[in-house]
Symmetry: D2
Subunit: 240 residues, 4 copies
């Protein structure tokens, strides 16, 4: 059965900053979508901030198994009611892959319950990503580490709940460290946060980064046949 993916993107940086457009001429969402579309088992659509309802109508949401979310400069422009719908879909089983600066995206913050604050520096540090959970489906096929020549630095303390699994930890030229790949479940949904992806670097053209994202799509996809009871049932005496 196919996995139905929606890649959500702000898609404004590319329109304002020629350096970003040079790296992602069609936008980060199209770069990610094109990579995922190579696999016949994945059906990909995209949605962006400036579409009506941010492209996330009820029809789109109910037909999405896994959502990728990239946002950076315009988190505040996302409507609260739509952020709540995305959260609700995760609780019903939709997978969510949270990319880079989307650590501050409304749906992610609502699901985590924390500030999701961190340290940062736009200085083009070299980033080395170390695998702390080999053999996990998301890190399958990745060596013990890989390197990105230039990235934005993110540093601890990263204010998120203790994860189910820590899959990747980064070090940076400056000596900082960051938990770059973490998983959680919320309700019936699986969540993966993946750190790299600053818009001014060609991170989403890197083969290791793309492999991890592709692995994560499959890991996040909901289990077939699951049933989550809605609401708060009030069963009578003797029903069991």
């Amino acid at each position: 059965m196919s996995i139905r993916v929606t890649v959500w993107h702000e898609f404004r940086h590319e329109k304002k900053n020629p350096a970003v457009a040079a790296i992602y001429p069609q936008g980060i969402h199209e770069t990610l979508a094109a990579h995922l579309r190579v696999s016949p088992d994945v059906l990909v659509r995209t949605a962006v901030l400036d579409e009506p309802e941010h492209g996330l109508t009820d029809d789109v949401l109910s037909a999405t198994d896994v959502m990728l979310w990239w946002g950076h400069g315009y988190h505040g422009d996302v409507r609260d009611d739509i952020a709540a719908k995305v959260q609700q879909r995760v609780l019903e089983g939709m997978g969510l892959i949270v990319l880079h600066s989307a650590h501050h995206a409304k749906p992610f913050k609502r699901l985590m319950g924390t500030t999701c604050n961190l340290k940062w520096r736009e200085s083009g540090d070299k980033e080395i990503l170390w695998v702390t959970k080999p053999h996990h489906p998301i890190t399958a096929g990745i060596e013990d580490h890989f390197t990105l020549d230039h990235e934005e630095m993110y540093g601890e303390y990263f204010d998120v709940p203790e994860p189910m699994e820590t899959l990747l930890i980064s070090s940076f030229t400056g000596g900082e460290v960051f938990r770059s790949g973490m998983t959680w479940t919320r309700g019936a949904g699986k969540i993966f946060y993946f750190r790299p992806g600053h818009e001014t670097f060609p991170t989403y053209h890197n083969a290791n980064v793309l492999r991890i994202i592709g692995n994560a799509v499959r890991w996040c996809a909901p289990a077939a046949g699951g049933v989550v009871p809605p609401g708060c049932p009030n069963p009578p005496v003797g029903w069991v």
Copy 2:
């Protein structure tokens, strides 16, 4: 050093239902506060829904180390901005003890990120609470199980994030089960959910229930000397 506790309560059921008032003449909050005040290391105040700002002014919040929260019928009357402040205080280190039907309280739902839905039945089932983490500070002094003759039934699935620790699991006359004692951390704060406490039963007069709540106050109290950096620092190259 003393632990500064604020017991928050809706305090409406007692005024509307004589059966509740008969069990808790001064209100559930005063019953809990009176128990906690016996210990000289705990300073207790109370706050209720119908006070200005629900009794949770900035001064009260900043002077609270551990908050107890009991709510049931009036979750929707709690102001969103005050719920957000309570959440923020937990992230800064305030402990939170969430009692019974406060599983649907706004601050708890914001911290969990899930629906916090469950099954329920007001049928006076016998509840047996089993310790699944003996030697934990919260279950210290509790035998392997204890019984409440009559309680509201809560049943799984309870839609909360996987806990850090499962301390207690209940069974009911009807055969249902429920994870009745669970812990999480969020930011610098510690959270304990404790199931029993339906307003029409004398649960908060039970010695085991009170012992667990007293233990939890001490477990939830913030560590001295902790420092959480506010916001998102932007340190320069070479700062380390």
Copy 3:
């Protein structure tokens, strides 16, 4: 790609107790194997205690993706060196499904590091199993609960490490509770403990029990392409 399963069984109770043989004429291992063999993506072999090396030669171990383990009365007869090899294979990525009284099996105790003690009573209690993680691959297709008319009672405290996920909790006629389905990872391997399965009851003919075991085989199967570095590498300066 097929999943290669080895069902390990003591296979002594059936030879000594006609009541057990009446329920499992070919042995519990063959009942489980026959069920799993219906799926064309699973290759099943069996191994039993009284075979040379308990049927677990190096060739068998290295050709096993997922092992099921049922033991009860003869844990002490398992050779320590073979228990260590099973543990090592789990750390390398082999899935392990630990059934019922195998809570005291040597490989499981070595992987948990705890006593794995619990309460028990052979009284034919009714067991109700409640799903505490709907939509999980292992509970996919299972309603919110199901019932076994007669089973051995297991009760808390169950001395195992806090699990990654609690999937099922049982209640019994006597009012006891037990965490009946739990997951852990150790090294590259995934572990699932599943409580039911006393040899004097037809538990492994129950459709829900068999469905959960079948689901678990797929959940425990190792991710393709994983690499776990053996030993303790000593990389030189400048190797990154």
Copy 4:
């Protein structure tokens, strides 16, 4: 009530390597013990490998609330039966603080169930330790990071079970990272692994390192009044 601490140490490196003896003239154990003894609420004894029963008689074990363990070159000389007793005491509630190369100590490996393998290099890298859980009792009083000028490098993948909490992550001059402070519970006992402490560097004279160890002693101390039922009770029908 006082916390009774036993500092266990191999105490052979100091006798063979003058460079180690120059840093720790009385041995690492005496340096740690002297620091802990400053606090009037801690009663400290030491025990070393070459004493009868490694200094860990039944009397010493039963009178120990928290044990520190430092070993490096002689893990194999520890008797299996004594390692098993230490493990058993942890399950009964004794705290265990595992220092540096004791990642391969027998009691720790038995409690973890994994290989506890890691990468390493004796090259005097600079180590920066970052706090990933501020406000935790163990990191109380520690800034967001601190630095050790020269240490042995440890790198991921560190083969231990997913921790309850990740408190500290290190980066090294070479770009490697390591989860340097992690907690687990096993049975009634609390375990803290703390990475720094190579014998050829003055790490245990560092104020931050000593503060963390002192904090950990208090965090690991068993809760008063806890009760863990021994063995596997077999309660009759109707006992609840």
